[in-house]
């Protein structure tokens, strides 16, 4: 299955033989992967390819392929680093199923992707030819073994002299191959080369003009090589979006949302995959009058944010599972003292250190209930990168209006996923107002709860006449420590009531598909796109299936029971663990369910089923599609 183009010299066309007229393959969407050893720049190549595609009007979803270790050995299947880019004619909402084209810098990282079943059967593979004729016999043997392993599939493998060609321009191709590859892709997908050259110049703006020039030359070389040697082209027509668009990843969107919400402080302790929120903010936040404080640990980060918020500033803390666990006690204090606080949890695989770089949706119940004592708080989950931005504004508003803790559950998929979304129109109402320093009215108390709503007006240090001591002990309206049974009952009721009041302002979740049918698939967070795509495929086949995505997990959006009643079956699809119903010892009585399923069952008393997986990857629409068909045909998920 290996083929080496007959004219493998980069200037093959110059020999006077006209290159064959390439076959143009028209597609409505296509998924491309670029994988290399870390440090070889496949990620930059993928990012620029994604950006140029978005600018040309394609729908785009980009996911990083991240090795688990910082310095994995070269040429190791688990060490592949790069990008998956899915482009489409319309909006692309998820990373898709399998790649149709893969560019691999060596056969080992390619094997890594192959073993994860990341390639479609008819995938085209462009692989550096360097290794098959390498001086080192061991490498040649590894190559041979790798080729045998790949032979079971009907991939079309094309060897490309990537490194060899680059050596014409640079001494160390390690840092140049990515641009050559970008040039090939530009040719294959007919990307706007001038635009790519701009993006390269931007990305190397801190380097010398020579560096930019060399990268432009490498790009050109790759383009010409593909043009002269490859007999196919892809055409994924683009439709220009109506309004202006932004392209960012989810963590950048969270950071921009924090700024748009008028926040003053991001207090954090480094933890993957949350940290890049603070990297980006550290770069720009001070221009906006804000600051990133890297605390000594996550507990301190929560404490600093709470201190700042108590003093009237708007603060948030950003973390991932293990950090959320450490913040627990402080979150309880914020609930008890009714101190506004936004916590962003960019979820990764758990428990414990778990899968530090990989996506999971396992913190839902921890966010809701992971707290001794009754500590009601608001939990919301963005489903798209767009929502990562807007929900930060919502979170700040709710936290301040209701004097409560708001947890925003993002995940590793959104964190590094890149997608175009409509450029928000900035609005001064997003921002927090100035700190109230007016004298406090005679007789006003720090917890003057409205007996119906639980709402009260907070008093901020500096306000004359408002002196009181905030406490995490049970307290009355004056913030006096109160141990009598009624006082604690009332305090708990008032803090809980606020959630009910928030729920009043919410709408039932929107349905994707018909309002009734045989099956309703319920999801939350970043699985939305994949679920909807799967539902669309099943509906096109005539199945009566719809889906919905729940943004507000606490309080839950209203109307769920009524919606569920219109479907014969209701099932969640989530990236967290649940027992398989047919596993040994598992019975309906002891089966541990997906986290949303558990929540929905408790809240609606509907017999909600679930299909969940923890592969450390986003779910594929094709897999969900299969599950939907199984449920509807056989009555079970498998």
């Amino acid at each position: 299955m290996t083929e080496t183009p007959s004219t493998s010299a980069p200037d093959g066309g110059a020999a006077g033989v006209a290159p064959p007229e390439p076959r143009l393959i028209k597609l409505s969407e296509h998924t491309i992967e670029i994988v290399s050893d870390p440090g070889e720049g496949a990620q930059k190549c993928g990012q620029i390819f994604g950006q140029v595609s978005a600018r040309m009007g394609n729908g785009v979803w980009t996911v990083e392929i991240i090795p688990a270790e910082i310095q994995p050995p070269a040429r190791s299947p688990a060490g592949g680093s790069g990008n998956r880019i899915r482009i489409g004619s319309g909006p692309v909402t998820n990373w898709g199923d399998q790649a149709g084209l893969v560019v691999a810098f060596n056969e080992q990282v390619l094997l890594g992707r192959h073993r994860l079943d990341a390639l479609s059967d008819d995938a085209i593979i462009l692989l550096d030819s360097l290794w098959s004729r390498h001086d080192d016999e061991r490498i040649r043997e590894e190559w041979q073994k790798g080729m045998k392993e790949l032979a079971g599939r009907s991939y079309r493998l094309i060897e490309v002299p990537i490194e060899e060609a680059c050596l014409e321009i640079v001494d160390t191709p390690r840092r140049g191959k990515n641009m050559f590859v970008l040039g090939m892709l530009a040719c294959l997908y007919q990307r706007d080369v001038a635009l790519i050259m701009d993006l390269i110049a931007q990305s190397f703006r801190k380097k010398s003009p020579d560096v930019v020039k060399i990268n432009h030359d490498l790009l050109d070389l790759g383009y010409r090589w593909a043009n002269d040697n490859l007999d196919f082209r892809f055409d994924v027509p683009a439709t220009k979006p109506e309004g202006p668009m932004l392209v960012t990843n989810g963590n950048q969107a969270v950071a921009l949302g924090a700024i748009a919400a008028g926040m003053d402080l991001c207090a954090m302790y480094p933890i993957t995959p949350a940290t890049s929120v603070s990297h980006y903010l550290s770069d720009i936040f001070e221009e906006f009058g804000g600051m990133v404080h890297q605390a000594e640990d996550e507990i301190a980060a929560a404490g600093v944010a709470i201190g700042a918020s108590y003093a009237g500033k708007v603060a948030f803390t950003v973390t991932s599972g293990p950090g959320l666990a450490l913040k627990t006690e402080f979150l309880g204090l914020a609930v008890m003292g009714e101190i506004p606080l936004v916590v962003v949890d960019v979820q990764r695989g758990g428990p414990s250190t778990g899968l530090p770089t990989k996506v999971e949706q396992s913190d839902l119940l921890a966010a809701l209930f992971g707290q001794p004592g009754d500590a009601p708080r608001v939990v919301i989950a963005p489903a798209t990168i767009d929502e990562c931005f807007h929900l930060m504004i919502t979170a700040r508003r709710i936290a301040e209006t209701f004097r409560c803790v708001v947890i925003v559950l993002s995940d590793a998929n959104l964190a590094s996923g890149v997608q175009p979304y409509p450029r928000p129109e900035v609005d001064p109402r997003w921002m927090a107002g100035p700190i109230d320093q007016s004298p406090v009215a005679q007789g006003a108390r720090p917890f003057d709860w409205d007996p119906d709503t639980g709402l009260s007006h907070r008093i901020i240090p500096g306000q004359p006449g408002g002196m009181h001591t905030l406490t995490g002990l049970a307290h009355d309206e004056s913030s006096e420590i109160a141990y009598d049974p009624d006082a604690h009952e009332r305090g708990c009721a008032m803090r809980s009531r606020k959630l009910a009041v928030i729920q009043k302002a919410l709408r039932p979740p929107a349905l994707h598909g018909d309002p009734d049918g045989d099956l309703l698939v319920v999801g939350w967070g970043s699985t939305k796109g994949a679920i909807e795509e799967a539902v669309d495929r099943a509906r096109a086949e005539g199945y009566r299936v719809s889906s919905t995505n729940i943004t507000f997990l606490s309080p839950l959006q209203p109307g769920l029971k009524e919606i569920f009643g219109r479907f014969n079956r209701v099932m969640t699809v989530e990236i967290n663990y649940s027992d398989a119903p047919d596993a040994p010892y598992i019975t309906p009585e002891n089966r541990r369910m997906g986290q949303l399923a558990w929540l929905l069952r408790a809240n609606t008393l509907v017999d909600v089923d679930c299909w969940t997986r923890v592969p450390g990857q986003p779910l594929r629409p094709g897999r969900i599609h299969e599950v939907i068909r199984n449920v509807l045909l056989k009555g079970r998920t498998a």
């Binding site: 600051m291 404080h293 108590y310 003093a311 009237g312 001064p428 408002g466 002196m467 001591t469 995490g472």
Partner: protein, 317 residues
């Protein structure tokens, strides 16, 4: 913490009005009779009065423990948080509201055990605040458990055959952290000294750490008794750049001149458990302060939105 200009910024403070002690008194303290915390509270209130701190511009932050109840008894703003975590909260307050006067009150369990990580880093941040360690060398509130500062061999409910380890020395620890800027020790049974030291701490621009030896008649009478009864076991550190309390000179005859700018000597003096040394061990006003280094001028909403639009441009298609 330096006497700053915040009182001038205070809305609503009548210029003619002078604050008296009663203006700083809140609820009746609930500590045991004879507890050293009573005297410390009075010392604190006297400093507030002497420095005429506007109550609404002043915040007392504490953790959990007998000592940490103190904010409830001072009529300023107070934040009675969670065990061991007063310092991060105080950091958040002072970072964003540098005009507020921030006092932190902790017990020895609070500061030196559960909150020890925060303590080390807060010293390094050197944020302008007064930090009072009310050290009764025992866990009081939870009823007599060994603390990191409990003397070796002293029995408690958790180590009834006596504390196993030599105690942690809070002065040595603080003086050992880079960027320490003010370290002092006083004792609740010398109220005039408590007042002078806390006042000096307040006037210090930076993280002013004061360990206050605090009697706990419930559990640790035996630890402090001898020093309380016998002033000859105490040595006063005196210096024109430190504190001098003339009215105590008759009682405490052991006086040692110690220049608080001398860090090496401060460390040596802090090592000794006997005699009990009271005074300012170290003071350096030139250490960098985190809240100054990190100061970001506030921006108007219009500015922020304009800049946000510019930032959007960078990500625009």
């Amino acid at each position: 913490m330096r006497g700053n200009s915040c009182s001038l910024l205070t809305a609503g403070q009548d210029e003619e009005h002078e604050y008296g002690l009663q203006d700083y008194a809140s609820a009746t303290p609930r500590w045991c009779p004879g507890c050293g915390d009573h005297g410390i509270l009075t010392g604190v209130q006297r400093v507030l009065e002497a420095e005429q701190l506007p109550p609404e511009q002043t915040v007392f932050v504490s953790g959990i423990g007998c000592a940490s109840r103190l904010p409830h008894y001072v009529k300023t703003y107070g934040f009675h948080g969670i065990h061991g975590r007063a310092l991060p909260v105080a950091t958040g307050i002072k970072l964003h509201r540098p005009e507020l006067n921030v006092f932190v009150v902790m017990g020895d369990g609070d500061c030196c055990s559960i909150g020890a990580g925060h303590w080390i880093h807060a010293i390094r941040y050197n944020i302008d605040m007064v930090v009072l360690l009310l050290d009764n060398e025992i866990y009081g509130l939870t009823k007599n458990q060994t603390s990191p500062t409990t003397p070796q061999g002293f029995p408690s409910n958790t180590q009834p055959r006596g504390s196993y380890l030599p105690p942690l020395n809070p002065l040595v620890t603080t003086l050992g952290v880079s960027n320490a800027s003010f370290v002092a020790q006083t004792a609740d049974w010398a109220p005039a000294h408590v007042f002078e030291v806390i006042r000096a701490a307040y006037r210090h621009p930076g993280f002013a750490f004061v360990r206050i030896l605090q009697r706990c008649p419930q559990y640790t009478t035996a630890i402090f008794d001898s020093a309380v009864r016998d002033p000859s076991l105490v040595e006063m550190l005196v210096h024109e750049n430190g504190v001098i309390v003339p009215e105590l000179q008759g009682i405490y005859k052991n006086q040692r001149r110690h220049d608080p700018s001398n860090l090496d000597q401060a460390r040596r003096l802090a090592e000794d458990v006997e005699p009990v040394r009271l005074g300012i061990f170290y003071r350096n006003e030139d250490r960098p302060r985190y809240e100054e280094t990190r100061h970001v001028p506030p921006h108007s909403v219009e500015d922020r939105l304009r800049l946000l639009n510019k930032e959007f441009d960078r990500h625009a298609l």
